[in-house]
């Protein structure tokens, strides 16, 4: 498959495939680029940022994020899970809203505060 490297804005392209349990890369890439492209091929990961619904408040939403990237294939399942979560004030930045979300090892944390 073709992967575009996004480590720097140059956007070098590479063809990546697996051959006898080894990852093959075709394309001019720098050192950082090679690392990114390999990981992207093996298991693409993304930081998920979204909001959580608030109950009992005039403020309706608190923004949240995963504290580390999670597998791309789990993004929508996480969104589904999060849509059912309700939080109440007070919330501080960095508070863990959901620990180890869907077994990814990443916590869902608040990125803005919610005052009482």
């Amino acid at each position: 498959m073709e992967i575009v490297c996004i480590v720097c804005p140059k956007g070098c392209r590479a063809k990546v495939w697996e051959e006898s349990n080894e990852i093959k890369i075709e394309g001019k890439l720098c050192k950082k680029g090679k690392v990114y492209v390999e990981e992207e091929f093996r298991e693409p990961k993304r930081v998920l940022t979204t909001t959580v619904a608030v109950s009992n408040s005039n403020i309706k939403r608190v923004p949240v994020r995963t504290n580390k990237p999670i597998p791309k294939r789990l993004l929508f399942s996480c969104m589904d899970f999060i849509s059912k979560v309700r939080i109440t004030p007070p919330v501080e930045i960095g508070n863990v809203i959901v620990k180890d979300i869907l077994g990814t090892g990443a916590d869902l944390i608040a990125t803005n505060e919610l005052k009482d």
Binding site: P9, R46, R61, P63, R65, M79, I93, T111, N112
Partner: protein, 426 residues
């Protein structure tokens, strides 16, 4: 009606204003207030819940609110006074401002110095005159972002996005994650106008079709959007009518440009650069009115908030010097003019009293190129895209020992003949 005196008034408690306030306090300015129209500080960052902020400044990958929080916390610890739900109604050339809020009603301040950090607004459907009907369901991307991230509203079920700027692409991802279908992102230029990272992580990741060289030629629907017609355009932006495609949708998002919000600046007769649509400033970010400084998106549309914070700090340094009476005497100011392939830049004037960084946008993408200031200073860059500001750092020593006779210098961007050409994606 109260009229008070104040050393420093900062208009806008977004990232630019907050950084300016913190720096001003650090430099010993005690008598300062930030006036903010919204109900909390942080400006637009409050609704930018995605990550990618602070990579340069903090070497961390933060979300908008987290980035803002760094400065809000710092401002709190330095006892920075922020007046919320407060609107500045007028500003004069004599640095007098008139404001209104519920608590103090109408009040005026005579300021020693003012820092403008009002940010920008979005270009609207009306301003680009998209033909068709006027139903509900047309939003600028920023407004949709506020609705979805702050109020929790889903703007619609099926969306078409016009404009591939960062806000448009970020919203494409946001909507998709919330289960809203994004049918296409339509861009009039032959390349996207946002960061490459966003093209991959917002569009490619979700297989959202990107139509380059296209635009929306008509909006349909009487009460609510029912669909849009999309056409290919020629090099001059004219519709190629035989390429019409109809997209059924109930929502149209517009990400077609940001305009610095300089109403107050114009009231004070501060000269505005028609290219940046912000004030002319020198390397201290001082406008043509002594004591009034500008920073952040009100000065020019930035692409990285890290740069916005830096501008806030530079403005604060200049303002602090004015207040303390320590502003360097400027004998000669050089006016910089646009040359080849230059769209806009700040600062437009150089006092040559300090090192400075020119923030430049090119008109069209290039591969390896050379930025030069009329033979005085030049630097090579591997590539340039209009959507990414190029930083041209000029150390102070470059101005010394150079007998610059003229008062105007040109900036040019010349593409190298045999350089590595820019990788394009489509």
């Amino acid at each position: 009606m109260k009229t008070s005196k104040i050393d420093l008034a900062i208009i806008g408690a977004g990232p630019a204003g907050l950084a300016a306030a913190v720096r001003a306090k650090e430099l010993g300015i005690k008598d300062l207030v930030i006036f903010e129209r919204d109900e909390r500080p942080g400006g637009i960052l409050n609704q930018c819940i995605h990550n990618g902020f602070g990579l340069v400044r903090f070497k961390e990958d933060l979300t908008g609110p987290e980035y803002a929080h760094r400065f809000i916390k710092e401002a709190k610890s330095l006892n920075v006074d922020i007046e919320l739900n407060t609107m500045v109604l007028e500003m004069t050339k004599d640095k007098e401002i008139t404001l209104v809020n519920e608590k103090d009603r109408i009040k005026k301040y005579k300021c020693k110095s003012i820092i403008l950090s009002m940010g920008c607004r979005e270009r609207t459907r009306g301003a680009i005159a998209i033909p068709g009907t006027r139903p509900a369901g047309i939003f600028t991307a920023g407004k949709a972002q506020r609705l979805i991230n702050i109020e929790g509203y889903a703007p619609g079920k099926k969306v078409v996005i016009l404009g591939s700027g960062d806000i448009g692409m970020i919203m494409a991802r946001r909507l998709t994650l919330e289960g809203i279908e994004v049918k296409a992102v339509v861009e009039i230029l032959p390349y996207t106008s946002g960061l490459l990272r966003n093209e991959i992580q917002c569009l490619r990741d979700f297989n959202i079709p990107l139509l380059l060289g296209h635009t929306v030629s008509e909006i349909h629907g009487d009460k609510r959007v029912e669909g849009v017609t999309v056409v290919k355009v020629d090099d001059n932006g004219n519709y190629l009518l035989d390429t019409k495609q109809y997209f059924e949708c109930d929502t149209l998002l517009l990400s077609v440009g940001l305009i610095p919000e300089n109403e107050l600046s114009m009231m004070a007769n501060i000269p505005i650069d028609s290219y940046t649509r912000g004030p002319y400033v020198n390397d201290y970010l001082e406008t043509d009115v002594e004591g009034i400084f500008a920073c952040g998106n009100v000065l020019h549309v930035n692409d990285l908030v890290d740069t916005v914070s830096k501008e806030g700090e530079i403005a604060a340094e200049g303002a602090a010097n004015r207040i303390k009476g320590k502003f360097p005497r400027v004998d000669k100011t050089i006016l910089l003019k646009k040359g080849e392939n230059i769209a806009q830049f700040v600062p437009q004037k150089l006092t040559m009293k300090k090192s400075t960084t020119l923030l430049i946008r090119v008109k069209t993408p290039t591969g390896e190129m050379k930025l030069s200031i009329d033979g005085i200073y030049k630097k090579r860059f591997p590539y340039a895209r209009p959507s990414e500001i190029i930083e041209l750092k000029i150390p102070e020593k470059e101005f010394q020992n150079k007998n610059i006779l003229s008062s105007e210098l040109k900036i040019d961007c010349q593409e190298s003949k045999n350089g590595d050409s820019m990788h394009s994606l489509s």
